[in-house]
Structures are given as structure tokens and as C-alpha cells.
Amino acid sequence: MADETFLSDDLLRQLMSVGEVDLLVGILSHRSANTVRRAAHYVEKSLQQNFVRQRVAIISVDGGAVEDSGSEDHSGDGQPGNNSNSKGITSLRTIHRVTAAFNGAPSPGLALRTILSASDLLRARGCAVVSPATSSTSPEWVANLLRPAFRDSFDFVAPLYSRHKFQGLLARNLLYPMTRALFGRRIRELYSDEWAFSNRLGNFCLNEDVWHEEPVRSRPEAWMGISALTSDFRCCQVYLGEKPPPPDGAGPDLVEVLRQTVGSLFWLLETHQQAWLERKGSEPLPTFGPDHAVTAESMELNRARMFEMFQTGVKELGPILESILSPETLASIQGIATLDQHSFRFPPELWVTMLYEFAASYHHSVINRDHLVQALVPLYRGKIYSFLTEFSEASASDMEAVSENLCMEFERQKPYLTEKWKAGIEVKS
């Protein structure tokens, strides 16, 4: 049973009024109340159209942008149902809207924990977590996420998107191939703002004592996904459509992004090492809808500063990189840093080796872990600069081939990581 002591009385009262549900959709905190409201409207529309008879509730986890809460159906646009005889009757059942209000924006981990607690108390069979930014794309979005968990007995449902070849570069060049190679499952969008899960997985995660850990606080979805992949839970992916770009200026900077994503990935390697150390190869996940797609229309890119920042970083972080990387790897990186920007390439083999040495060094805590992850930032910039330059004219299918080759490189070098992981390393002061 959930430890509900961190739930406010007001939230508990709202949950009491809802009672048992079949489906719960959680909308994560966002800056704008209007955005959350709009998202809730689309979610409601999706539920009305796709889960007509189910008992459903929407929970907005809100940091200061308080929504109307209560049990009545507040269909946003008041449009009648498809039936011309509907006379303004939009749904069979009450669709509940619950608001979990916090003073200031709660961390994603606290938001998820709140949603898991609500799901547990409401005994929801299936739960989806959606982002206000993406859930307004179409009503089918939410339904597609929920269906595998609700109807097909999957425990964890990750999204799949259609992306431009230069979107999601962190996922394409690091997070996906590394997760695939190490954990043995080809989950493309582990770090996403939306996913779905079953009551069984939700209860499991709720009862884990990890909510104080920074990686869980900042990127709980990755932890939840890895927990599902490495335990006895059924996982799948579902195609949602084109991933909308984030609003201009939204989101943290690159340093923070890497701290959250790569930092949590390294932490997950640490906490789940029994699950990946001996695993070999990788398997696809069941996928609903078309597999992810890559589009290749032309796009303006500003990469001028990237190379400079790479070179500057390699130079200025030399002593730190010495602690993290092997002499051979460092020498190779310093070598490519001297190339001119037109001929610069960051070979995939070097990229993978470097990342694995970072991971092993994280495991052995050769330096402060947070500093270690931050040291990756300029190197990542270099990799991305190389990627953008090399593949600016590449087709969508070429990009897929490149990605697959990178994944295979990660898998090929896994024994190297395993060896370094298990070996003792002298900690340099």
C-alpha cells in the first residue's frame, strides 16, 4: 500500500471522491496553467472517444498553476459527441479531474510519486503520464499509450516518435545505443515525458526506497523503464507520431540535460549491474503501430560554436579527463581536437570507448560523479558537431544505417566496459 503521508489532505479528499478507476492519466507539472488546462482537455477528449465505458480520472500535478478540481465533467469545448442525436451529451461517465497542488513546481520524481500514489489508491489498472507540451497533438496520443497497459497486459509502455534526423541527437548517439547494448532491450525513448504503466509496475516502483535519489528525482521515467526492463515486467513501445519540438527557450541547458540523462543512466548502471553485466546482445521490444520513423527534410543548423566549445573543453579539462579516461583514449581525443573543423570527425569507435570509460570511472567514483558527467559536455558537443557535419546531406535510410552501426559498436565493445567495471582502479586524488 502506498505511503500516502506525503499526500495532502486536499488531494486525499479528492481521491476519495473519485473512488476506484480503470484508467488514470497524470499530467506533469508545467509552467503555464493554460497549457495544463489545454492538455487536460485533449486527454479528456481522448478518454471520451476511446475508453467510453471505463472509469477514468485525470490528475494534474501542478506547481502553483491551480486547476479547478472536482468530479463533474468539464469537457473543454462542450462539443457534442459524434452522434447527431447526442444533444450535448459527451460521455457516459463522469471524468474526474484531480489536482495535486504544490508550492512551486515539484520535481519530476515527486510528481511521479504522487501519480503512482494516486494510481495505487484509486486501484487504476492502467496509468499514463503525459506532458502538457505533447499531449495536445491529438486525442489518439493518450489512447495509444494506455491501450497496451490496459488491454494487452503490458506493464511498461514507452513512446516511439517520428523524428527529424537531427532531432533527439542525445538519444540517437548515446542514450539509446548504450541502453540497448547494456540492458539488452531496444527501447528508443527511455527519457521521455510520456509513458504508461500497469498497476503492478506502479505498485512495485512506489514501494522502492529510491525517491530521495537525485536521478529518480530528475528523470524518474528512466528509472521506471529500466526497473521494468530488468525485472519480470512486460515492456513494449507504441508509435505516437511526430514528436513536437519543445517551445523555444523551454527546457534546461545542455549541461543540465546531460546531468539528468547521462547521470541517471550511469546511476542506473550502478544500481542494476546484476541485470546487465552478463547480458549479451539485444532484443527488440514488441511495438505497436509503425516503428519509429526518421524524416530528412532540410533544416537550418547552427553548429559554429560547437566545435570551438569542444576544442576549448578538451584543452581546459585535460587534468580531469586524465582521471577519467585511459591514456590512449585521451590521446586520441586530444588528437582529433587539433583537426580543423572541416576535416574533423569523431569516430564512433572512439566515442563508444570514451563513454564506456566514463561509465566505469563513474562506477569507481574516480572523481566527484557530478563533475564527471559535466566533463562529458564538451566531448558530447564535439560528437554532435561531427555528426551534423558528416550527415548533413544523408537520407533518412542512411541515418538509420548509421544509427544501427553505432548500436552494434556499443554492443561490440560491451566486454570492454564489463572488464573495466569489474577491475580495481586506482583512485587519483
Partner: protein, 546 residues
């Protein structure tokens, strides 16, 4: 007991609907009759109902349970004579019971002399009393009501070699109200019964009186003009008599049948009925609140009539497709239970014989605004027989006792107009008036107490209604108010116990008194009022400020 002189009596009525054929057979022919019904009037008086609505008892081929009328001004010989009816009427009035009868204005039986004449020749004076056409293409797109049996609203008449129009069965040709003679003929018929003393008419199928090309042929202005004329004459010559509209339409469309208080006195609230069933199954008050929120106000001298079941299928015409599918899946899993766009089952079987749910629905019926109608047999929880044709499964003989023929008739059982319900759950040996009269905890005794309580407070029949909307959607709560009388009704629609906090701060200081046990509950204060209810439980509280 003399009838109370009150032109608004229908607002306080509790109507008991029955077919004379089903109630009591006095002469051993296996068919209920007026003499038998007269013998049973004490029962109706004892129950607490004060108005009887009789289904059609006119001469008829009985191909639509009497709604196919062949003679409007006498009684079908199976049910007795006109004198028997007069005696029944007098006896009813002497007990303070008013009587409503059917008036089927829209159509006749094809065996009616009018139609026989009309079809005999295109030159016959009564030809234009019906709606004829040389083709079946007029009024295209008009919906067919009996979709299970009729393919068209036109039928070829081989006698006069033309098509005639019928919105119901093909043996029920529609009268042509564009012909003033038709109206006058119908008025004479109504006068015949009014002069005898009947208290009102249920006008069957009123939306369909008039046809016009390019329309749905329903609810047309010309139809309302006809009703207004009927009402005008009624008020002038027979004040205090009542017209009840059978208009199976959305509330906003039925509203028109009240006119400005110059058309029908009362009309059925069809869309509310399935939503009460839906709300209990969904365990969610939304369907009820939604339909009542979109029910327009009606003139002060008018009243809705509300009901749970009746002689027809539980109609699912005025629901959305989604709602209809839900109702079928939940209440009519066996397709034999379905007919036309509805469900041909009685209340008790639909509630799976769950006494709590039966009580809850009756509690809603008696506490919501409107004149309630009890369908015969539902007060004892009678069952149905879905294997009888048409809607006959809900029209079986009244079960008076556990003896021969359930006390309905002394004829041979094979001679009864319909088989009795005789299974182990709803059979007459188990469910009957006599056995339920013996126990104060029987459904019949409970219904009597319910009706008595309702009758004791005019606020139920004439008061306003305001929904409280607690956050617990499984609880339907409302305030009924009339002058200083205030009643709080709280219903748990759910199969599990519920807690609810009611926003009654504006009644701070009032003491709620539970109306059946007359016990005091804690006074309303500043905080939301917490109540807990068992599964399907409901409360009626009288609010007193002392």
C-alpha cells in the same frame, strides 16, 4: 371519499398503470375485466395511488395490444360492457381514485369502419380521413418506429390500389388531421368519455399527427395547433380534466407540447427514464443530472410524468448510440430481451431482483420532480417472460396469491390470455400480493410506506429541485423546496458503501429528520455535512428549523 376539487390534481397524482385484461378476471374466461378490476379497487386505494391509467380497452383486433382501435365508443366484449365500465368509474371515484383512459388519435385499426369505408373507394366520403398516396415516395427519410417489423411507413392497399401512411404497424393507418372532419370526429369521441366522467386522456403518439413534405413529420406546428384546440375545448367544457402527452422526444422538444400552459397538462419525461437505470449501473449520477440540466422549465400549470417501466419496451430512442449500446450490454445481454430500440423487461428482473436497487429506483421515482407512475405488478416485484412475443412478456396476469392462476382467474390455466410467470424466482407462488400483505418488510409494504410518505408532503409533487453536487459522483443529492417545506434527498447509486460531504451551509441551523424513521440527525453547521450510506441506500430528510 369524494374527489378533491382541484384543477391541478394531476400534480399530486400517483398514477397506477394497468391493462384491464391483466388485472382480474371475474367471469372465468381467462381475461381480466372491469368487474374484476372493480373488485380490486380497494387494493389500489390501500397502496396509496390515487389515479388509474387504463391501457386501451376498446374493441380491437388486438394486433397491437389494443392500440389498434376498431370502435372508440364502447368496451371490448372480453373486458365487459359499457355499463361495467361505468360501474368501475363510479366505484373508483367513490374511493377517491381518478381514471385516465387512452385516446389514440394518430391512427385506427384497419378494421375500424372508417378505414373500411375509406379504402372501399377513392370517392368515399371518408377517403380523406386517412393519408393516401399513389406512390410510396412521399415523406422520404421519415424514421420507421417499429423497426423490427416494418420496412416502410407506406403500405399498399390492394382494395383501393394505393398506398396508405402509417407510423406504426401496417394495420394501423394514420388518420389525416388535415381534414377537419377527423378532428371533429375525435372530439366527439372524447366528449363521449368525458361526459361519462373520465378524468383525462393519455393521448398516444401525438408527435405524429400531421405530415409535411421535407420534414421529419414529427412535432410540426400544425400538430400543436390541434392540441391547442383540444385543450381549449377541454378547459371550456370540462375544466379539471387532464391531457397526458405520449411524446417520446428530447426534453426540449417535449417542452413544446406544454405550449404556454395551453396544450398538454402533463407529458412523459422519456429521456430521464433510461438514465435512471444507467446511473445505477454506472454508479454515477452524471446521466441523471445531465438530462435534467437540459430539461427546460415548464409552465406552472404543467407537470412532467416520470416512470420506471411501462407496458412498452424500455425505450432507448432518446439516448446516444453509446448509451444505447451500454444499456443493451448491461440490461439485455440476451438479444431476446431486445425489441425495436428498447428492452422488454420488467423492473425487478432488470434489477436482478436486488431489493435494494428496486427500492432505490422507486425512491428516485417518488422523490424527483414529476408525477410518478407505477406500472402494475412492479409494486410486488413481478417478473417477466421474454419468450412471449412482442412486448407481452411484461403484460402477464397480476399475481394476487400463490393459488390457482395466482388468484387472477378461476378459468382453466390453459385458457388464460397469457401464461403466468411461474419460475422459482418471480413465479406467482413466490411473488404475490397476499404473501406480501402479511409482512411489514415486504416490498409491497415498503412501497405503501414510500407512497404514504410522498403523499404526506406536497413538496414532492409541486416543489422545486436543486441538485447538490458533492464531489462523490456516486451520490445523487438534491433539495426539494416548496415554501417553508424543505426536503433533502440523498441517494447512493453505488453497490458499495459511500461517504459524502454535502454543501448545506446555506441551511445552517436546520435539523435533518429522516422521514421514514423520523429520527433526528445532527444539525447542519458551518462545515460540509458528512453522511455515510450503505450500498444503494437513500435518505429522505425533512429539514426543520426549530
Amino acid at each position: 371519499m369524494a374527489l378533491q376539487e382541484d384543477n391541478l390534481w394531476y400534480k399530486d397524482a400517483i398514477i397506477y398503470q394497468l391493462h384491464v385484461r391483466t388485472f382480474c378476471d371475474s367471469n372465468g374466461d381467462g381475461i381480466g375485466d372491469f368487474v374484476g378490476l372493480t373488485q380490486r379497487l380497494d387494493y389500489l386505494q390501500e397502496l396509496g395511488t390515487n389515479t388509474i391509467w387504463l391501457l386501451p380497452f376498446y374493441p380491437s383486433p388486438l394486433r397491437d395490444d389494443g392500440y389498434d382501435i376498431a370502435d372508440y365508443t364502447t368496451v371490448h366484449p372480453s373486458y365487459g360492457t359499457l355499463d361495467d365500465f361505468k360501474a368501475f368509474l363510479t366505484a373508483a371515484h367513490n374511493r377517491g381514485l381518478r381514471v385516465l383512459i387512452e385516446m389514440v388519435m394518430n391512427h385506427t385499426s384497419d378494421q375500424h369502419p372508417w378505414f373500411q369505408e375509406a379504402r372501399s373507394s377513392r370517392d368515399n366520403p371518408k377517403r380523406d380521413w386517412y393519408v393516401w398516396s399513389d406512390t410510396d415516395t412521399k415523406y422520404q427519410g421519415v424514421r420507421i418506429i417499429f423497426i423490427d417489423t416494418e420496412l416502410s411507413n407506406w403500405t399498399w392497399d390492394p382494395v383501393s390500389k394505393s398506398y396508405y401512411w402509417h407510423r406504426f404497424f401496417s394495420h394501423q393507418p394514420d388518420l389525416n388531421f388535415d381534414n377537419p372532419e377527423v378532428f371533429e370526429a375525435m372530439w366527439e369521441i372524447m366528449k363521449f368519455w368525458l361526459d361519462m366522467g373520465v378524468d383525462g386522456f393519455r393521448l398516444d403518439a401525438v408527435p405524429y399527427l400531421v405530415e409535411r413534405e421535407g420534414t421529419s413529420c414529427e412535432n410540426l406546428p400544425e400538430t400543436h395547433a390541434i392540441i391547442k384546440e383540444v385543450r381549449k375545448r377541454l378547459d371550456q367544457f370540462y375544466p379539471g380534466r387532464m391531457l397526458l402527452a405520449e411524446a417520446n422526444q428530447w426534453p426540449a422538444d417535449v417542452r413544446a407540447y406544454f405550449g404556454d400552459g395551453d396544450e398538454f397538462h402533463t407529458a412523459f419525461h422519456f429521456p430521464l427514464m433510461p438514465r435512471m437505470f444507467m446511473a445505477v449501473k454506472l454508479e454515477d449520477r452524471k446521466p441523471i443530472i445531465e438530462i435534467l440540466d437540459q430539461t427546460p422549465p415548464i409552465p406552472e400549470n404543467c407537470q412532467w410524468c416520470i416512470f420506471l417501466r411501462n407496458h412498452d419496451e424500455l425505450t432507448l430512442e432518446m439516448v446516444t448510440d453509446v448509451e444505447r449500446d451500454y444499456m443493451y450490454d448491461e440490461y439485455a445481454t440476451d438479444k431476446t430481451m431486445r425489441i425495436n430500440l428498447g428492452i422488454r423487461r420488467r423492473l425487478a428482473p432488470m434489477m436482478e431482483n436486488d431489493r435494494r436497487r428496486i427500492e432505490l429506483l422507486n425512491g428516485l421515482l417518488m422523490s424527483m420532480p414529476g408525477t410518478p407512475i407505477v406500472y402494475y405488478g412492479d409494486e410486488i416485484g413481478m417478473g417477466d417472460n421474454i419468450y412471449l412475443g412482442d412486448r407481452n412478456g411484461v403484460r402477464t396476469p397480476m399475481q394476487w396469491n400463490g393459488g390457482t392462476n395466482a388468484g387472477f382467474s378461476f378459468a382453466d390455466p390453459e385458457r388464460l390470455y397469457s401464461p403466468l410467470i411461474s419460475n422459482s424466482v418471480y413465479g406467482y407462488q413466490v411473488v404475490n400480493v397476499d404473501s406480501q400483505r402479511r409482512f411489514s418488510h415486504s416490498l409491497l409494504s415498503w412501497m405503501k410506506a414510500l407512497i404514504k410518505t410522498r403523499n404526506s408532503y406536497r413538496v414532492f409533487s409541486r416543489g422545486t429541485m436543486e441538485f447538490l453536487r458533492p464531489s462523490n459522483h456516486r451520490v445523487l443529492a438534491y433539495i426539494r423546496e416548496l415554501g417553508n417545506e424543505k426536503i433533502l434527498v440523498v441517494n447512493n447509486l453505488s453497490s458499495s458503501a459511500q461517504a459524502v460531504e454535502l454543501d448545506v451551509q446555506r441551511f445552517k441551523g436546520y435539523i435533518p429528520i429522516e422521514m421514514f424513521g423520523r429520527n433526528l440527525f445532527p444539525r447542519f453547521g458551518d462545515l460540509p455535512y458528512l453522511l455515510t450510506l450503505g450500498p444503494y441506500q437513500f435518505y429522505w430528510f425533512r429539514l426543520r428549523r426549530i
